[in-house]
Assembly symmetry: D5
Homo-oligomer: 91 residues x 10
């Protein structure tokens, strides 16, 4: 089941730089693991923003929530979820 | 070059049914031709809406505008374009 | 899988009264059939509005879209879908 | 009398972790007591958010306000209340 | 139980003038009957708008919805309902 | 002259608790004095919010501004003012 | 008593041209009479819009509403009213 | 050349009280000097807000920007500028 | 004096096709004359929209308003004007 | 390829003044280098705001993102990107 997800990141300026660096690194690893597993199908940077537009392919709403809630940067994100379906014009 | 594009469709109720049917059919053919050509990379239906979220891979802004302007349903659409770039977390 | 769905209805004033009446009756039958089948779990009227807030329990995004797209009043509705998950405070 | 209530939670990052943990635990106990009493009829997590959509069944506006005002997380919440009525399509 | 209700009126320009006049007259009678009965506690005109801000005192959400749904101008109104409670600073 | 006024209160979390308590107490006394004087005609709590909807009956815009500017909680409030007039449907 | 008023005009395209011309002429005469009487203190065109920003000096909210409600173009206007007071920095 | 300018002021609570007082005093002097010079034609307080609506008469956009950028309270203001022109209904 | 201007065009579907064609042609001629005269400095199409972003260099607000008000497509446009000044980083 | 970019700057008040000064200086140098290279085609100040409207001419979305991401003031900016195309009315 597909979902478009937009994540806008806003890391507080006073976060300890080492914590910041380590969190961003964990975020990247977390994301890549899910990409390789096939659940995080696409991730694109939004030009000019600390944001991404992603597409997830998951078994359920529960699974998607668990993935998003577990994002290392989740406390610093605003997330918008749009459920998708197959489009009749799909070639 | 990648762009996320959301299209919200609102066909006027008083459009002649035959014109409507023919226009929707042309829209589908137009979209599928571009999908097969590789420029219209993804198209998904937004659940509960007469809308889609698409991803285009085009050579320029000009090319994207020409494609969108030429959509048979363009006069009945509200279109939002978001330029995308590669994401550093991409696996 | 659960989804909160808000539907705001705006039937055009110049719709033929017989068509209107018949469409509203079909909408009611359609809704009640899905309620009895267990997929349309809750439906409440929003006070002071021609709107409802509903909860659906469906097998997939595709299934939810098919249900909503098939609503007899779909052409006159604005629909907003919110995916839900179990809440850790649920008793 | 039924009300849909959406609660968006934003706990300040600098809240003492022990206080945070204790407040979240009290919130859960408070919610579950009201669920068992039948006044907090439904609670669902909004996917990808620190938010819930709930349905309350209370005797009055006053009672609903007292419940919400007493939430341990109330100082960190934005709350939106929508009064509900029975829907004529209810099966 | 108290509710603040804002009603914004937008009567279509092409409504038959006799129908319009008759509907506005029925609206006034309907409102005044409820005012005398004590359920429609206050009604004020918003300066510069075809709008009112009202306060209702009703026994339930259901009752409020029935009153609003029955307004002769209901099809031409946008209505916003805000549930009220006693304020601790009330003298 | 009547005005609807909505006040949304947001007291900073780090305000000294004694100052907070004293300010809220002064706010209450200030409000009640104006209620008894007849200028602050109504005050209601908005359910689920640290907000009120009030109606003022004052001699001028200047007088209303002086009252609002003098609110002990004014620095922590967002205030929206709507001028009112008599409604032709008033019974 | 002073009020800032913004009026956005949207005359329907299918209004009879003679009616349109006559209405605009009456609007101008109506406005100029109130300007000469001192109640309509200022009127400015918003650059690039069929809109004006005006300042009224009237005896009461009631009087302002009567003036605005009586505008020949009132049915085609969206009006926003902002009550003003003397500013302490006024020279 | 005329411009309507709205300024919403939000002075941080933790600004040193002496600095605050001195800045507000400088703001007043700055404003009054420009009022006497004829460039700051009007200034009104928005009722219930720490805001003003002003009208400037300046020789150019550059001049207006220099004036606004130089406001002692500029760092704490949100400013909205609306270019004005003579209105054909002006008496 | 420079202004950024965004124009969003929405030509009614039922406009006579010949009138539409003629109006669009006049719009183009009107724009090009002003471009050659140096007042309409830039015009760009917004990708995916029937909109443009333009930059004008005019002697006054009055002149800009006259230009915009005189656009053949003005009745079908929503126009937003942003006054510009020289930027200190300009090379 | 052309893009309109609006940048709204909000430098935190508690940033060390020397850091602030140095960052603003680096921003200016960075911008001017790109202006001289022809990629940052225009930059204008928005009157009354700490904002600019710019036009970029770059080879790709990737390039634009790299430029914006590298702005010394990027962490304190909100950036909005609008892809542009040639306009058929261009003279």
């Amino acid at each position: 089941m597909l979902f478009a997800v937009r994540m806008d990141v806003d890391i507080p300026r006073d976060l300890d730089p080492a914590v910041r660096e380590e969190t961003v690194a964990r975020e990247k690893a977390y994301s890549q693991q899910l990409q390789r597993a096939g659940e995080w199908r696409h991730i694109w940077r939004v030009v000019g923003r600390y944001s991404n537009i992603s597409v997830f392919d998951v078994s359920s709403n529960e699974r998607l929530h668990d993935i998003l809630w577990g994002l290392p940067l989740f406390p610093y994100m605003t997330i918008e979820v749009t459920p998708l379906a197959a489009h009749p014009s799909q070639a």
